[in-house]
Symmetry: C2
DNA sequence: TAATTAAGTCAATATGGCTGACCTAAATAA
DNA sequence: TTATTTAGGTCAGCCATATTGACTTAATTA
């Protein structure tokens, strides 16, 4: 059975090859986030601040609830980060039509920081994928998408 | 110029499309690590323990220095995690030919945990990529590889 | 009017990083 | 042979990010 498996399984489905993917995920994600991390450090922010700025920048007038459902962290965790961003005027709050809700948006200052941080990642991705053909890039995106838990794939689709 | 760019830039190199990749990286990495995280939680370990177990399992008789150069964390950070793994008998230390060095290897217990944790990620990847053709999978791997900082790509090649 | 929802807050806890300072023992270079 | 470098260890303190649990307020909805 094990031998039959070896005969019938294409090489790219071997455990050894799959383990390479595990490592590629680790190394690439680490280096993918390291650029923004360095800038954030200077202004005493962390990766969590970047995420908030990123998604607020993407969807202006996001409510806290929506943001929590994207980030999937507790409101207590978000609270610390968000309060800092509001206090330091990167993010502006306003009250929604439903007066229980609050809408988040980037200030000019916040938008500047968002640009600065995302630019690094955008450039990195651009410089990588420009050397690949459309099929390869689509393969990359489709595989990554399928690596997202089924229940969370909707979230990606919702915001895009 | 901006208009010319729009005319000449393929759609998959647009900022909007690249931002999707940023999000795919975030969501996929989060869900990729969530499986092992749940198991680790039960035995009061974290993701850092998984990494150590993973790379020691991959390369038996790894030295501390080599492990540090893969993980790129400080020895003080590694120390806490590693001491726990040794104390709880997941990892065994022995002295190298160069008597200043120590070699790390997994105990039977450690190997069992490694299997249990990696199995989740291996199965997840297997179940995703089995539905893709070889070109798409290669595209995926090649793009991920190129997302690794140049200076760190060697590290991936060394261990593979 | 009662129940639910959105948001906020206080407190305690855990994990995973970091810097800096300092130590030991072994290997290597001058 | 002595001096330097290297591998590893340790103590202390700090910071960021996350968690759980308990409780509050105000607005909406049943």
């Amino acid at each position: 059975m094990a031998d039959l498996n070896k005969l019938l399984t294409p090489i790219y489905l071997n455990e050894k090859e799959i383990r390479k993917i595990i490592e590629l995920m680790f190394f690439s994600y680490r280096d993918f986030t390291s650029g923004p991390d360095k800038i954030l450090e200077k202004i005493k922010f962390g990766r969590a601040h970047h995420r908030v700025i990123y998604f607020v920048g993407k969807r202006n007038n996001l409510t806290i609830k929506e943001l929590l459902s994207i980030l999937k962290i507790t409101k207590q965790s978000l609270s610390r980060v968000l309060n800092q961003l509001v206090k330091e005027k990167y993010i502006v709050l306003s009250i929604g039509e439903d007066k229980r809700t609050k809408k988040l948006s980037l200030s000019r200052r916040g938008l500047e920081l968002e640009k600065k941080l995302s630019e690094i990642q955008i450039n990195k991705i651009f410089n990588v994928i420009k050397n690949f053909n459309e099929n390869e890039i689509n393969g990359f995106k489709k595989v990554l998408f399928e690596m997202i838990d089924h229940k969370n794939q909707n979230k990606f689709n919702e915001i895009n």
